[in-house]
Structure formats: structure tokens, C-alpha cells
């Protein structure tokens, strides 16, 4: 119990540190939200209008006053409103976070369902034609920038063949078929890097398991090769793969920015990019806090899981 309380306390401190660092960093970089807003499109704003807007937005107050107000609001669970249009930050996040998570989940499903069987087959037939070809494809996929793959997919499937839409989003409730169709290409782009990582990790893990004594014993017992692989190799090889997958999913929370931009998928990255460009402090802090909070939550869950799996960790 003490262990759990300690981990939660550490996570809360980390949230405060992240919030403070992001808040201060944003205020230290050049750029003023009022100036940027009134300069949209290249026009030159009237300095009186800028001063008036700064006052209305509360940006003319000392930074520590703004910080104190921000932390007090955060403690009440209030992320504030956008400086650009007064829209509640929490509402924006609640609308868009599920879309980003959906994209990550779909990408992970595609990656795992392709990479795991391929890695197992490649490892079992190590050195064979399939192994060499699959390893080469994995290396290429890992090296291929996501925007290149995304652009190619759009060029070929949307512009040339006109089989797929170029990008966009339709809510599932409105049109399930089109929703899934629009999800497909960005999910493939998300899956690209993950599939390569999972393939390499799983192949290495399966190869390692294949040389273990218990596998040799299973074979000696007369089990069929398929049964040996399924029961004694893949299951054990999944432990390191699952760990990597968990970490990768966390990384993908911040890594879908390019994919969402290229395919016009309205997840969290679009408002984040726009908010950084316009120095919309509350929106940036709110989104960064949400993403880092999720990250911390995953880490906390993993810490707690380790404690359950190995009580020695909790005791130490």
C-alpha cells in the first residue's frame, strides 16, 4: 500500500514539474499571443489594439501572477480556455484525444497482426529467403520517413487510382464504413515503424527461445514443430515483445503528429501545432499535460504491475 501511495505521489510531482516547465518555457520563447493573433495573414496590427487585447487576455500581468493563477486553476482540474477564441481546453482535448488513441490502437493492431506472424516464421526459417526478405523490408520501413510513406500512399491510392480518400475524418456514428476507410491509411502509416520494431524484437526473441533447453526437450518428447513453436516458443517470446510494445505505444502518443497532419486526421496534434504557432499557452499546456499524464499513467500501471508480478520490487 505504501509502495502504491509513493508511486502516485511521485507521478503527481512529475505532473507539476511538467506543467511548470511547459508554462515557463512557453513564456520564455519569443512571440506574443496578441501580436500573433492580430498578425494572422500577414497584416500589421495596430499597437493599441495589441495592447488592448493583451490586457483582455491578462497577458500584461507579471509572469509569476499568471503562473500562480495557472497552478491554482490546475489544482481545481480546470485547464482554462483558449486565448484565441475562448474555447474550453478540456472540451477540445476530450473531443480529440479518443481519435488519437483510436489511430494508435488501429496502427498497433495492424503492426502486431503482420509483424508477429512474420517474425515467428522468419525466425523458425532463419537464414531462408523469407527471413532475408522480411528483414530487408523491416529495415526499409524503419528508415522510411512517415511523411514519405504517407505522401506515397496518398499519391498512388487517392490521386492516381482514386481507390481511397486523400484524408480526413468522418465520425463512426455518422458513417461507419467511411470512418474505417479514412482510418486505414493513417493507421498503416502509424503501423509502419511499429511493425518494423516489433518484427525485429519478436524475431530475436523467438530465435533465443528456439535455442533454449525446454524447446529441445519439447521436440525430443515428439511434439510437432508447429505445436512447439506455438506453445513453448511464441508464448515465452512475447514477454519482451509486450514490454517493448507498451513503451512504443506511449511514444506513439507524441509520434502521431506527422501522421495526423499528413492525413488530416483531426486528433490532438492539429490543435497542439496550431496552439504552439499562435502561442496559445493554455491549449499547449493542456494538451502536453494530457499526453504526459497518460504517459505517466502507463508507467505507473507498469510499476504497479511489476510489483504484483515480483513482490521483491515492492519490498525494495
Amino acid at each position: 500500500m505504501l509502495y502504491v501511495a509513493k508511486r502516485i505521489a511521485i507521478s503527481l510531482v512529475l505532473v507539476w514539474v511538467v506543467a511548470t516547465v511547459v508554462f515557463l518555457a512557453l513564456h520564455m520563447v519569443p512571440g506574443d499571443p496578441a501580436e500573433v493573433l492580430l498578425s494572422t495573414g500577414g497584416t500589421s496590427p495596430d499597437p493599441y489594439a495589441v495592447a488592448e487585447l493583451r490586457e483582455r487576455l491578462g497577458l500584461d500581468r507579471p509572469i509569476m501572477v499568471q503562473y500562480g493563477e495557472f497552478i491554482a486553476r490546475l489544482a481545481r482540474g480546470d485547464l482554462g480556455t483558449s486565448l484565441v477564441d475562448d474555447y474550453p481546453v478540456a472540451e477540445e482535448i476530450l473531443l480529440r484525444l479518443p481519435r488519437t488513441l483510436e489511430l494508435i490502437l488501429a496502427g498497433t493492431l495492424i503492426a502486431v497482426s503482420i509483424a508477429l506472424p512474420a517474425a515467428t516464421y522468419a525466425a523458425v526459417h532463419a537464414g531462408g529467403a523469407f527471413d532475408r526478405a522480411a528483414s530487408a523490408v523491416a529495415a526499409i520501413l524503419q528508415a522510411l520517413p512517415v511523411f514519405v510513406l504517407g505522401t506515397l500512399l496518398i499519391l498512388v491510392l487517392a490521386q492516381w487510382l482514386r481507390w481511397m480518400p486523400a484524408g480526413g475524418y468522418v465520425p463512426f456514428a455518422q458513417d461507419p464504413g467511411r470512418h474505417l476507410l479514412l482510418l486505414l491509411l493513417p493507421a498503416v502509416a502509424v503501423a509502419k515503424g511499429l511493425a518494423a520494431t516489433v518484427f525485429r524484437m519478436a524475431r530475436a526473441a523467438v530465435l533465443e527461445q528456439l535455442s533454449r533447453d525446454h524447446v529441445r526437450t519439447a521436440r525430443a518428447k515428439g511434439l510437432t514443430p508447429r505445436r512447439v513453436v506455438r506453445r513453448h516458443v511464441v508464448r515465452n517470446a512475447m514477454i519482451p515483445v509486450t514490454t517493448v510494445l507498451g513503451l512504443q505505444m506511449g511514444t506513439l502518443l507524441g509520434g502521431t503528429v506527422l501522421v495526423e497532419f499528413v492525413f488530416n486526421w483531426p486528433g490532438l496534434s492539429t490543435p497542439l501545432l496550431r496552439a504552439v504557432e499562435t502561442r496559445d499557452y493554455p491549449m499547449v499546456v493542456g494538451i502536453v499535460l494530457t499526453v504526459s499524464g497518460l504517459f505517466l499513467l502507463i508507467n505507473l500501471a507498469m510499476d504497479l504491475l511489476y510489483a504484483v508480478l515480483d513482490p521483491r520490487i515492492a519490498r525494495s
Binding site: 520563447v29 512571440g31 499597437p47 489594439a49 486523400a166 488530416n264
Partner: protein, 510 residues
Amino acid sequence: MSMLTRRAAMIGATAFGVLPVARLAQAQPRPDLLRFGLSVWPPNLQPWQSVGQAAGMIKMLIGRRLVGFDEKGELRGELARDFGRDASDGAWVFRLDPRAVFHNGEKVTSEDVKWTIEQVAGERSTAYYRAQMQRIDRIETPDAHTVRLHMKEPTATVPLWFANYNMPIVWRGTRNMNEAMGCGPYRLAAQERGSWIELQAVPNYWVPGQPRTKTIRMTLVADESLRLAALQSGDVDFIEFVPWTGMAAVEADPRFKLESTMGPFMDILFNGTRPPFDNPLVRRAVAHAVKREDIVRVAFSGRGKVLEGMPIVEGTPWWDAELSRGHNYDPERSKALLAQAGHANGINTTLLTTGAFAMHKDSAEVAQQYLAAVGIRAELRVVDWSTRVSQGIRGQYDLAVHGVSADFNDPDGLTVVLDTSLSAAHGRSFGLSAPRTTELLNKGRQEFDHARRVEIYKDMQRAALEEVPVVGLAWREQGYAFDRRVSGFRILPGALSLSSGVNLEFTSVG
């Protein structure tokens, strides 16, 4: 005799799966719906704040200005049935169309116009035209449909102010400016912040037969290549800001039409508060150093035009062939000017630009090379847009590359760029003295005789070529592309091209 092999079955199954997908991929067009690919998200729809062209387009469709522009860029009444200057007392008179009503059913009256002007001119206003509206001395509303504006000093360009998309007339009962009551052909029906906006035609709009399309759905497609792909794949019917690299493809494709014109332009700005760019000779050296053809080729894929004078639109009465080449590419002259200014060994300096827009960065990179060739060694400083704005306003640069459009095609629309006596701005040279240019801009604004105005603005160009408040680099082509089924849309000429979105009310599908 089995005809169905395993391979044939697989191919059949694949085709069976692909065909419905291909059908699904084509979002079905509807004659009452225009699907528009938006380039940027409008930050807000407050009526009088200047927050960019996208917001301007929507504001023009939701609201009405006193005056608008026809396809040739000539002023025409919008809310005003007619307008002109009263010779007896010099007042500008606008007579409102009595049919005009706001979306809440209230009649548009002269009191609404008066209230709008007062709000824009107010001390706590954040409006783009605040300073201009403060030049109005007195507003008279002799009846419900007549507005008389008495200016503090004679001003020939007043109707142009009221044609700007940041000057819609708003119902005087409006309290929340994020939901300002307009009187335009469309109303905001629904939106998802940062993704899409849906405009619905106002039932029984006060102009019979308008608008032509019942619904306009604007979807944000920020990436220009994806926007073009969305048009080509049939996801949208209409896109704005067609990428220069894709214009030829659109023109060559019989399914689409491109409407484009030279409108906005790129220029170099100076920090005139310190050497060496406080010296007009050095600024002229910069002006003669850059070969603009390469900027047009590199930054705009050839879809632009060299700008070797002040940014006066060709074909207008103010344009002059000789003056338009006043800063022609002449590296020898550039070197001579540098030597004359005491910099025979060249100059080390900085060139500020933003990486947020490729055209800014590309233009700066080309300019940097040509400046180096005459001895002006400029270190390129590429920053994000917010930093560019901040450093521009604070004069934290030596040279800066900028892209902008005049407010309108009349040379007075260039005041925002050329009048360096105005407040510091990222789109104007900083702390630079160009007194003759400023004086002639003021003189032109106060002159009502057309022939005399033409001469004044030619003198202004001569002064600006010597004082060099900016160095023009290139005109850039501004384009809209749409499906051939779309009709009725025309791009507005020159500097007004960014206001062309208002013509969506005349646009129909199918």
C-alpha cells in the same frame, strides 16, 4: 473440369473487396452542397479583428459590408444602394438598401452603421480599421437609410475602407462579438473547432436569387499537397491557395478549372534605426542586387512575376512601365552604390525569415545568394512565425523577407507597407525614414481628382524608389481550383484576390 483455380479465386475475392472500397472512397457530390478545402483555420470570427483571409472569407459570407467589389475590382454597393461624396459639405453619403435585414429579422438601419463605426473606433477596440474610423469627425443619420460621414480631413479612399472584409456592419444589439449578428447570405450552422465549418443559406435572403448554393462545408486541409489531392480524388469540390507546384496539373486536367491572378507579393524590409540600412544608398544597393527571376522559379515554380519596382498592379492607371523597373537587377550598380555609401569591402549582416512558409524561406535563400555576390554577406535567421512577428515588431533584425498583400488595388492600399511613419509592424521596415513617400501617400489620399491622383502616385513611386522603404521581390500567383461542375466563381483582381471568397455566394454546383 475445374475452372476456378486457387489464384483466380484470390484475385476475384480481392477485386470483390476493392470495388466497394473504391466506391466508398468517392464521397458523393450533391448539387446543394459545396465542399470547400480550407487552407487555414480562422482563429475566431470576431467581425472587426484582422485574423486572416480565412476568417475574412467567412465574415464576408455571414455579414455584409457597406461596399463590395465587382469582378473587375471596381467598387459596387453591397449594403449601400448608392454612395458618393456630397459636393456641398464634403460628407461621404451612403444610402442603405431598404430590403436589408439581419439574420434575426431586424432591419439594417443607419443606426446600425453608426454603432458599428463607433465600436470600431472605440478606445478599447481591437479592430483593424480602428485608426481609420477615428478619422471620422461626425456621423449623421438623417433617416433610417442614410449615413453621412464627415471626415476630420478630406479623404478620397473612405469607400475602400468600408469594402474591407474587416468592416462588416453588425446589428447594434449584439453583445457577444464571437456571435455577431450579420446580414449576409449565409449563417454559421455548425462547426467543429479546427476541423470544419458549415454555412447554411439564410432562408429568404434579402437579395432575391442569392446565394446559389444551400450549404457550404469548409473542411480544414492545411497541407497544400493534401488539399490538391483532396480535390483530385473528389473529396472536395473547391480549394483555395492552390500550391504553385500543382497549378499546371490542375490546368492540364479537364476535370478542373483554375482561377488565378497575381496578387500578393514578397519584399525585403529594413531596420532603418542603425547602419548600414539607415542609408538609402545601401538600401538601393540591396534593391539592385537580387535577380528576381530566380525567386519566381525557385519559390513559386514559375507561377509568379518579377517585382522590380513598387508593388503597383499592372494594368491599373497608377502603373508605369519605366517605374516598374526602377530597381532592376544590376549587380554592378549595386556594387557602385555600396562603394558610394562607404562599404566598398561589403557588409556583414543578418536576414530574418520564417520557416513556417516555404515561400518566405525560399525567397530569402535566393536573395541571400545574390546579396553575397555583391558583397552583402547576410547570415540567414530562420525562425517560426510567432518569433518572426515578435522580432519584426521590435526591430530585432537587419534585413527581413516578408510576404503580404496590399489592402486594395488603389495605391493607398500600400500605406500599410510603405508608410514607415506608422507604428512598428512586422510587415513594414522598422524605424526607417521615408518622408517623401509618406507625404505623397497622404497627398494622394486627400486628392479627389483622378488625373491628379495618378500623377501623385507616380511621384510617390519615384520617391519610394529613392528612399526604398521596401524592396519588391516577386508577385506571387494566387489560385483557386475547382471541379468543372462548379460555376459562377470569379477571382478578384490583384490585391483583392484574397477577398475572392465572397464570390462563393454566386457559386453553384452541378
